[in-house]
Symmetry: C2
Subunit: 198 residues, 2 copies
């Protein structure tokens, strides 16, 4: 049976680390930043620019004439990035077993019948302390603001792209709270579930 695993995650909940370790554990491919590199190659846009939009919904198209051209242009670029991103993710999945992190991959790969994981933290303090270790921000207030902002953007993007609510139970097969389950154990749980899947 094919092993295609998608990991959706709340910001700063350890989802990326779980994805990497899981791919190592199962000895299969891991796709995250590679997706951005491939989009960059195909579009000529810089990786930094793509990263800004790869998990964000389109900006609002303002009805003001003097702004219309700029926003329409921005939206069409973002739309194109999302379209190519979906193509890249689908192409990677056809190459064999893999772990894909974020980017609505659970929805994009729905025809591949992936094992869909959602990683979150029930205790915000854990997200803050994880963010402190991985961010240039040092002020707790700023960190909380960043966590909320990024999660809000991702949820908006997920909804606009899939029509589904991010983090809603029925959209996933296994949901793990990294405030209580360690990263190491989470990897073991997912690996067990995937290996024992019919």
């Amino acid at each position: 049976m094919s092993k295609i695993i998608t990991i959706s995650r709340e910001f700063s909940s350890g989802g990326r680390e779980i994805g990497k370790r899981l791919a190592d554990e199962l000895d299969i491919a891991y796709y995250d930043k590679e997706i951005v590199g491939e989009i960059s190659k195909r579009t000529g846009l810089t990786k930094e620019y793509i990263e800004k939009f790869s998990e964000k919904s389109m900006t609002r198209v303002y009805p003001y004439a003097f702004r219309a051209s700029f926003y329409t242009y921005t939206n069409s670029v973002v739309e194109e990035v999302h379209k190519i991103q979906a193509e890249v993710i689908r192409k990677l999945a056809t190459q064999g077993d893999c772990v894909v992190v974020g980017r609505c991959s659970d929805y994009i790969l729905r025809e591949f019948d992936p094992f869909k994981v959602y990683v979150y933290s029930s205790n915000e303090k854990d997200k803050i302390s994880r963010c402190e270790n991985n961010s240039e921000l040092t002020n707790e207030k700023d960190i909380i603001k960043q966590i909320h902002h990024i999660d809000k953007e991702r949820a908006k993007y997920y909804y606009s792209y899939t029509g589904q609510k991010r983090g809603e139970v029925k959209n996933y097969n296994l949901l793990i709270d990294t405030s209580v389950v360690s990263i190491k154990t989470a990897v073991k749980l997912i690996a067990t579930a995937v290996m024992e899947k019919d």
Copy 2:
């Protein structure tokens, strides 16, 4: 570390079977029908009567005078059953490690810091076929009606008792889709997560 595990579940998703097998696997107590028996002893109400209300919210108190006395009486009995149920569940938890199924036990036992599991089926067909095996109903339409009715009642009861939304990710530590993860594997995942918890 103490092992108190609460299992909340969608109707006909296999939660009760998971709870029983998990208690066997971990060699700890399992509480489900025992709770009803204890409430019956304390109140003098029959088990059948208690079961009708133990996972239901109170009936509406109609503002009609001629019905008021009946409904007020019913509500006070239901309220009393829920109060005693919470006492019984807390008392059982103080006796040692255990698995408790349903009855808002995740909320009732919050001071015990339980490991909170939610069991559901992403595919309704699985719930229907499980229900066919365990119910007297044979007509699929009736079975679907029953599943929706019981789930709606439980969700209402959970909300009225806890002020929380049933099945909302942040209220649990591990959520398992039994349409994709087998009962046997689900037991293994929960046991691993509990044994490896700090």
